[in-house]
C-alpha cells in the first residue's frame, strides 16, 4: 500500500482552515499552532519514509526488530507517559498535594516487575504479541481469542480516555470544536499506524518523549530556580498558599478505605505488566539483552518524568493560586487538569505555553498510535491469522488485515470519543489497568513460570478475571452511581482489582490442576522446552526470521 502524500497536505490545510475560523472567535496561540503543525509535518514525513520500509509483518508489528535498547526505552516512555498522566497528576498535586504522588508511584512500581519477571522471557518466546507467549505451549485458538479479547478491552478503554481527553484539551487550547479535534487525532493516528506501522509509531513516540521530557524539565527547572532548588522551600511556600495548608503534605481523600487502597495498588502494579501496547514494544528489539536495557532506560525516564510532574504540580499551587488571572469565580480556568498548562504560561509566557500545549497534543498522538497498533495486531495477528488463515502463513494478507483493522479502530475511537464527550472518563484508564492486571497479566506470568498451567485453566481463569473486572467496575460507584446515576452502588469499592485478580489466579490454578485430559498432560510436558528457550533465547532468533 502506498502512502498518500496529498492526504497529508489536505489534512494540514483542513487544520489550518479550522484554526483560521477559530481565530475569529477566540485568541489563538500562534506558537502552539506553529509547533503543532511542525510536529504533524515531521511525523507525517517520517510516516512516508517508514511506509517505504514496511514490507513484512515483522516490519509492521515490530519495526523489523531493529530498534536499540536505548531507543526502545525512550519509546516505551513515550508510549507510557500519557497526557492524562502529565496533566492529571500535575492537576492532582495542584488540588491535593501528596495524593498526586500516590498515583505517580503506582504508575512506576510496575516497571521493576516488568523487568525482572516479564521482559526477557517475553522477548525470547514471543514474536509480535503477548498472545504468542501465552499460547506457546497451549492451544492456539482459545488462548489467542482470550488474549486478543483482553488486549482489545484494555486498548478500547484506554483509547476512550485518551480521545475524550484529547478532544477537551484541544478544544480548550486551540479553540477548535470538540468533534473536529477528535477527528484530527483519529485521522493522524490512523495515518501513522496504517502506513508506517511500528516504525512510524516508534519514531512518533521517540520524538514525543524527547519533547515532553525537555518541556517538563524546563518547567521544573524554572520552578525550582525560584526556590533555590530546595524542596523544603518549595513545600513551605505551597503550604502557605494552599487552602488545605499542611494537609497537602499527607494522604487525603483519594484512597479512603484499605480495600480500595490495596486494590488500586494491585491494579497499577500488575496492570503495567499486562498492557498490550507496552508488551508489544519488547518485540521491536533484537534480543533479551536489549529488552532488559529498554526497561532500565524506560524506568529511569518515567520515574524522572513523574518527579518533574510532581514539582510542576507544586509550582502550580504557588504561582497560580496567587494570580487571579487564572481563575473565573474562584475556579481554575479549564479545571485542575489545566494546572500544568497555565503554569507554563506563568513561567515562560505565551512561547512556553505554546510549546507545552503542542507537546501535550503530540503526547496524545503518540499514545493513541501505540494503542491502535496494539489493538490492530491483536485483531490481525491473533484473531485473523489464527481463525481465518488457520495458521497458513500469508504476510500480505495479514498486513492487509491489520491495516483494515487500524482504520476500523480509528473510526471506532473517533465515534466513542464523540459519544463519551460529556461523560467522566477518568475511571477508564483505571479500568484498563484493572483488566490488564486481571486478565492479561495472570495468563502471561503463569504461562512463563508455572508448569501445570493448561489451556482449560488459562481460558476459564483468564476469562473469569476479565469478566469480574468489567462487571465489578460497572456495578461499582464510578459507573453505577457517577455515570448511570443510580443512588447506591451494588458493589461498594471503586477499585475491584483485589477481587478480579484473585479470581483469575484461583480460577487458573483450580481448573489447571483438575485438568486430567491427555492434552493437558502434553501441555505440561512441553514446559521444559519452553522454559529453556525463555531462559536462554535459544530458538528465538530463528523464529523471528520466519
Amino acid at each position: 500500500m502506498k502512502f498518500h502524500a496529498p492526504l497529508a497536505v489536505l489534512l494540514s490545510a483542513m487544520a489550518t482552515c479550522a484554526w483560521a475560523q477559530a481565530t475569529s472567535s477566540s485568541s489563538i496561540n500562534t506558537t502552539a499552532v506553529a509547533m503543532f503543525l511542525a510536529f504533524v509535518v515531521v511525523t507525517l514525513g517520517i510516516t512516508y519514509w517508514a511506509a517505504g520500509r514496511t514490507k513484512t509483518t515483522s516490519d509492521f508489528y515490530a519495526a523489523g526488530g531493529g530498534i536499540t535498547g536505548f531507543q526502545n526505552g525512550l519509546a516505551i516512555a513515550g508510549d507510557y507517559m500519557s497526557a492524562a498522566s502529565f496533566l492529571g497528576i500535575a492537576g492532582l498535586v495542584y488540588t491535593s498535594g501528596f495524593d498526586g504522588l500516590i498515583y505517580a508511584i503506582g504508575f512506576l512500581v510496575g516497571w521493576p516487575i516488568v523487568l525482572v519477571l516479564i521482559a526477557e522471557p517475553l522477548r525470547n518466546l514471543g514474536k509480535y504479541t503477548f498472545a504468542d507467549v501465552a499460547s506457546f505451549r497451549l492451544q492456539q485458538k482459545p488462548i489467542r481469542i482470550l488474549a486478543a479479547s483482553g488486549s482489545l478491552v484494555t486498548v478500547i478503554f484506554y483509547l476512550i480516555a485518551q480521545m475524550v481527553g484529547a478532544g477537551k484539551l484541544i478544544e480548550l487550547l486551540f479553540g477548535l470544536p470538540y468533534e473536529f479535534a477528535v477527528i484530527i487525532v483519529g485521522v493522524l493516528m490512523t495515518l501513522y499506524v496504517t502506513f508506517g506501522g511500528m516504525i512510524a509509531t516508534t519514531w512518533v513516540q521517540l520524538i514525543k518523549a524527547i519533547l515532553l521530557l525537555s518541556g517538563a524539565s524546563l518547567m521544573a527547572f524554572l520552578v525550582m530556580m525560584q526556590f533555590g532548588f530546595s524542596f523544603e522551600n518549595l513545600f513551605a511556600e505551597a503550604v502557605k498558599v494552599h487552602a488545605k495548608a499542611n494537609a497537602i503534605m499527607a494522604p487525603g481523600t483519594l484512597v479512603s478505605d484499605p480495600i480500595s487502597a490495596i486494590s488500586l495498588g494491585i491494579a497499577l502494579m500488575f496492570g503495567t505488566a499486562g498492557l498490550p501496547h507496552i508488551l508489544m514494544r519488547f518485540f521491536t528489539v533484537k534480543d533479551a539483552v536489549q529488552a532488559r536495557r529498554s526497561v532500565f532506560y524506560a524506568t529511569g525516564f518515567i520515574g524522572y518524568f513523574y518527579i518533574l510532574t510532581f514539582i510542576i504540580g507544586f509550582g502550580a499551587i504557588i504561582l497560580l493560586l496567587k494570580n487571579p488571572a487564572y481563575f473565573t469565580d474562584g475556579v481554575l480556568i479549564g479545571g485542575a487538569n489545566m494546572a500544568a498548562i497555565h503554569l507554563s504560561q506563568a513561567l515562560g509566557g505565551d512561547i512556553l505555553l505554546g510549546f507545552i500545549s503542542a507537546v501535550a497534543f503530540a503526547t496524545i498522538l503518540a499514545v493513541v498510535s501505540g494503542l491502535t497498533l496494539a489493538g490492530s495486531s491483536a485483531i490481525s495477528h491473533d484473531l485473523y491469522a489464527t481463525l481465518v488463515l488457520k495458521g497458513e502463513r500469508d504476510e500480505k494478507k495479514e498486513i492487509r488485515a491489520s491495516r483494515i483493522a487500524t482504520v476500523c479502530l480509528g473510526v471506532i475511537a473517533v465515534l466513542l470519543g464523540i459519544v463519551f464527550e460529556k461523560q467522566n472518563v477518568a475511571f477508564m484508564v483505571g479500568l484498563a489497568f484493572c483488566v490488564a492486571a486481571s486478565a492479561n497479566f495472570p495468563i502471561l506470568l503463569l504461562s512463563m513460570y508455572w508448569r501445570k498451567l493448561t489451556t482449560r485453566g488459562a481460558v476459564i481463569g483468564g476469562g473469569l478475571g476479565l469478566f469480574t473486572a468489567v462487571i465489578l467496575v460497572v456495578i461499582g460507584p464510578t459507573v453505577w452511581v457517577d455515570a448511570f446515576g443510580f443512588k447506591q452502588a451494588i458493589f461498594p469499592y471503586k477499585y475491584p482489582a483485589i477481587f478480579s485478580v484473585s479470581a483469575a489466579f484461583i480460577g487458573i490454578w483450580f481448573f489447571s490442576i483438575t485438568d486430567k485430559s491427555a492434552s493437558a498432560a502434553k501441555e505440561q510436558a512441553a514446559f521444559d522446552a519452553q522454559f529453556v528457550r525463555s531462559q536462554t533465547g535459544i530458538g528465538a532468533a530463528e523464529a523471528a526470521q520466519h
Binding site: 500516590i102 512506576l108 521493576p112 525482572v116 494537609a247 494522604p251 484499605p258 532500565f296 524506568t299 529453556v532
Partner: protein, 101 residues
C-alpha cells in the same frame, strides 16, 4: 540441540539458580516497599503527614519520592547483575548448544 541436553549442562543449572536468586528478592522488595507505603496510606495516613525535623516536608513525601528512586535503583541492580552474571552463562549455553547441534 535437544532440550534435555541443554538442561543437563552445568551452566544451565547455574543460570536458572542465579536468576532465581535475583528474580524473587528484587520482585518481593518492590512489592513490599510499595505495599508498605500503600497500607500506611490506608491505615495510618496521619503518620505520613508528620514533618521531618522543624520543616514542613513530611515523612510521606520523603518515602513517596524514595519509592520512585527505589524503583530506578532496583532496575539498575538487576541490569548490572544480569549483564555480569546471567549473560556470560547464557552465552556459554548458547555456544555449547551451537557446537553440538
Amino acid at each position: 540441540m535437544h532440550t534435555e541436553t541443554i538442561r543437563q549442562l552445568p551452566e544451565y543449572a547455574a543460570l536458572t539458580r542465579a536468576r532465581k536468586k535475583i528474580m524473587w528478592p528484587l520482585s518481593l522488595a518492590t512489592i513490599v516497599a510499595y505495599f508498605a507505603l500503600i497500607l500506611t496510606i490506608a491505615f495510618n495516613p496521619t503518620a505520613l503527614g508528620n514533618p521531618i525535623g522543624d520543616g514542613v516536608t513530611s515523612i510521606g513525601m520523603v518515602l513517596g519520592l524514595g519509592v520512585i528512586l527505589f524503583c530506578m535503583v532496583i532496575t539498575g541492580i538487576y541490569v548490572y547483575y544480569a549483564n555480569r552474571v546471567l549473560e556470560p552463562l547464557t552465552r556459554a549455553i548458547v555456544q555449547k548448544a551451537g557446537d553440538q547441534s
